[in-house]
């Protein structure tokens, strides 16, 4: 099915509305209904609401978007407060605490934070500081989410983060990373360089350098996940690239150097191509069509006007791929066997 004409796929219609907000003037009530549902399913309704804030939107849709903006404001406040709570809990930790993803965009005041939904708090610390960070968090009211011994030892042996912790009173999760990809994945990002090059924020917390932010976003999307949040990830990359390249004309070169250092040149190139196709992101690297780009875009835009995930086969393919990327086949078989015996899904 093509990406244009009357049978426009709803993931593409969300991309269109975000990049060309004037285009929504053509929408009737059904069109708005489908757009809002698809945007919500893609976790981009917050962004859509902010982009449409100063534009004429028909009343019933405007009402929905106004509510979303209220939620955005509350979500932003909560996310920054959560970062502050973690900072207070980690006051005794001498190393750098680096904010990642949405909370970092918000704390650094980047355009990518505008309307972005922020779930868990993600932080990065040096691997040799993990034990101390873990102990400090546990002493300040965080507790384990998964008390399962297999999951726990799996995380500790193979993952790039501690098993997730949740705060007993505030009910918010924190993911403590020591690098940005699972240890079983192919590329080996230079975690020490990520931390050493991080930029200090006014609060005393840190955020990744501009180039490393994009390396992380691309690694997270292309080399790790099953692309279920792919469209939102690409939107992050679009906003970051636009902002950083307008502030620094040589940003493309800086990004190339960091991507090489972290062994992430191919994922970053792929992410830049996909963002260019979907959102018209400025081509800071030469754009050469990639073999499977069309398949990635099929997966990323797979949502309908009811908010349902479509293209089941494509999605399953990417789900299996996500596991193959994270671990070698024999290890994957052992992992899935253990999970299946325990009655877990996936």
């Amino acid at each position: 099915m093509g990406g244009q004409g009357g049978g426009m796929i709803d993931g593409w219609s969300v991309a269109r509305a975000l990049t060309d907000p004037a285009s929504v003037a053509r929408l009737d009530a059904t069109g708005w209904t489908r757009l809002l549902s698809a945007a919500r399913a893609l976790s981009l309704i917050g962004t859509l609401a902010e982009i449409m804030a100063d534009r004429p939107v028909p009343y019933p849709a405007a009402r929905v978007l106004a509510d979303v903006r209220l939620s955005n404001a509350a979500g932003l406040r909560q996310a920054l407060w959560e970062a502050e709570c973690a900072q207070m809990a980690l006051a005794g930790y001498p190393g750098r605490v680096v904010l990642l993803k949405g909370t970092a965009f918000a704390a650094a005041g980047l355009d990518a934070a505008i309307g972005r939904s922020i779930g868990d708090l993600d932080i990065l610390v040096a691997r040799d500081g993990l034990d101390q960070v873990e102990a400090l968090l546990l002493a300040s009211g965080w507790e384990w989410v998964k008390p399962d011994p297999y999951d726990d030892s799996y995380y500790r042996q193979w993952m790039h983060e501690l098993p997730p912790l949740i705060h007993a009173e505030r009910d918010r999760m924190i993911d403590v990373h020591h690098t940005i990809l699972p240890l079983t994945a192919g590329p080996k990002p230079d975690a020490a360089a990520l931390i050493a090059d991080a930029r200090e924020l006014p609060s005393g917390l840190y955020a990744l350098s501009p180039a490393d932010m994009i390396c992380h976003a691309a690694a997270h999307m292309i080399a790790d996940g099953d692309l279920s949040g792919g469209m939102r990830n690409l939107w992050d990359i679009d906003r970051l690239v636009r902002q950083f390249s307008s502030e620094d004309p040589d940003f493309g070169d800086a990004l190339a150097e960091r991507a090489r250092l972290h062994q992430l040149t191919a994922p970053v190139a792929r992410a830049l191509r996909l963002a260019h196709r979907l959102f018209g992101t400025p081509a800071i690297w030469p754009i050469r069509p990639g073999v499977a780009d069309a398949l990635f875009l099929r997966r990323i835009t797979a949502v309908d006007g009811w908010g349902r995930k479509t293209r089941k086969l494509t999605r399953q393919g990417f789900y299996i791929r996500s596991h193959l990327l994270r671990m070698p086949p024999a290890m994957l078989a052992r992992h899935l066997w253990t999970k299946w015996r325990k009655g877990h899904r996936g």
Partner: protein, 300 residues
């Protein structure tokens, strides 16, 4: 690729607009019948709800309805298709509980008279729903049996008069009270909450559902206990209502202001009663004691 859900309808209740899609015809037909008096025209909805088969096979063989939509809980259990109506109701409640931001939402029932509302809240099974249904058959305006919507700016209550969800013994009690059989939905047996039957509010209360009202009295009813009345102070009401609200935390400062304004503006009592008649009588007595103080200020 399916371009639309096979069956769909739109329902407006008070200020909230729903779009409900279903893989089967039956739940949509049942909704249309139960909500016959409500606006059913197609509008851009606040929430989308989906009743979908748990798998392609399950659409036909011992069909199971999974609840999905804009807001979902990860561990929501599917229901058999015969309980599709209940699944739709639960899904609509869930959207309100998790997604509504325009009002502070209290898990409570409410009725009003002369422009003043009695808000009744309490744990599930305390009898607030049945008590509101009884009052609504005895001259009170019905504002809702599940959620009370408190406007953070005006302090007013926006009616949300969904059909009353009657459970177990309450079904027979209301069947005796209401002589119009067409206002009842189908009897749903063996649901996770026991036997359930819906009762559609009187048409006049549905027609007036856009008209807001002032809060007048806050009650914490408990059915099945010897008759007792206890005054409750603002602090205890406040704490209990934070627990009865599904979006108090999400509203942040607006929620705090709305709730403190509410508990300061109304007197509150915990009431215990042994029978429905006794409950009605207690509410009416407390209301008229309070009404004397409002005097002429009561709006029409």
């Amino acid at each position: 690729m399916a371009l639309a859900m096979r069956h769909a309808c739109f329902i407006t209740v008070g200020p909230a607009r729903f779009r409900i899609g279903s893989d089967w015809r039956a739940p949509i037909d049942e909704l249309r019948a139960l909500y016959a008096d409500y606006p059913l025209d197609e509008v851009v909805p606040d929430f989308t709800v989906r009743l979908q088969a748990t798998s392609a096979l399950r659409r036909y063989v011992r069909p199971q309805v999974a609840i999905a939509g804009d807001f979902t809980l990860p561990d929501a259990l599917p229901l058999p298709l015969e309980q599709g109506l209940l699944a739709a109701e639960m899904a609509m409640n869930l959207q309100m509980a998790l997604g509504w931001r325009r009002h502070l939402l209290l898990h409570a029932s409410a009725v009003s008279r002369q422009g003043r509302a009695v808000v009744m809240t309490g744990l599930s099974g305390a009898g607030k729903s049945t008590l509101s249904a009884l009052l609504a058959e005895r001259g009170w305006r019905f504002l809702g049996d599940e959620f009370v919507l408190l406007d953070p700016d005006s302090g007013n209550i926006a009616p949300f008069p969904r059909p009353v969800s009657l459970k177990n013994q309450a079904i027979a009690a209301m069947e005796r009270e209401v002589d119009d059989e067409t206002r009842f939905g189908p009897v749903l047996r063996d649901t996770p909450k026991g036997t359930i039957r819906h009762l559609r509010p009187r048409t006049e209360w549905i027609e007036q559902m856009a008209r807001e009202t002032r809060p007048g009295l806050l009650l914490f009813p408990r059915f099945g206990f010897p008759r007792a009345v206890r005054r409750m102070d603002e602090a205890e009401s406040f704490v209990r209502l934070t627990q009865a609200s599904t979006n108090y935390v999400a509203l942040g400062e607006r929620g705090f202001d709305a709730l403190t304004g509410f508990v300061r503006s109304v007197p509150a009592c915990a009431i215990d009663y042994a029978t429905g008649d006794e409950g009605v009588e207690l509410v009416e007595r407390l209301w008229s004691e309070q009404g004397a103080k409002w005097g002429d200020r009561a709006a029409a």
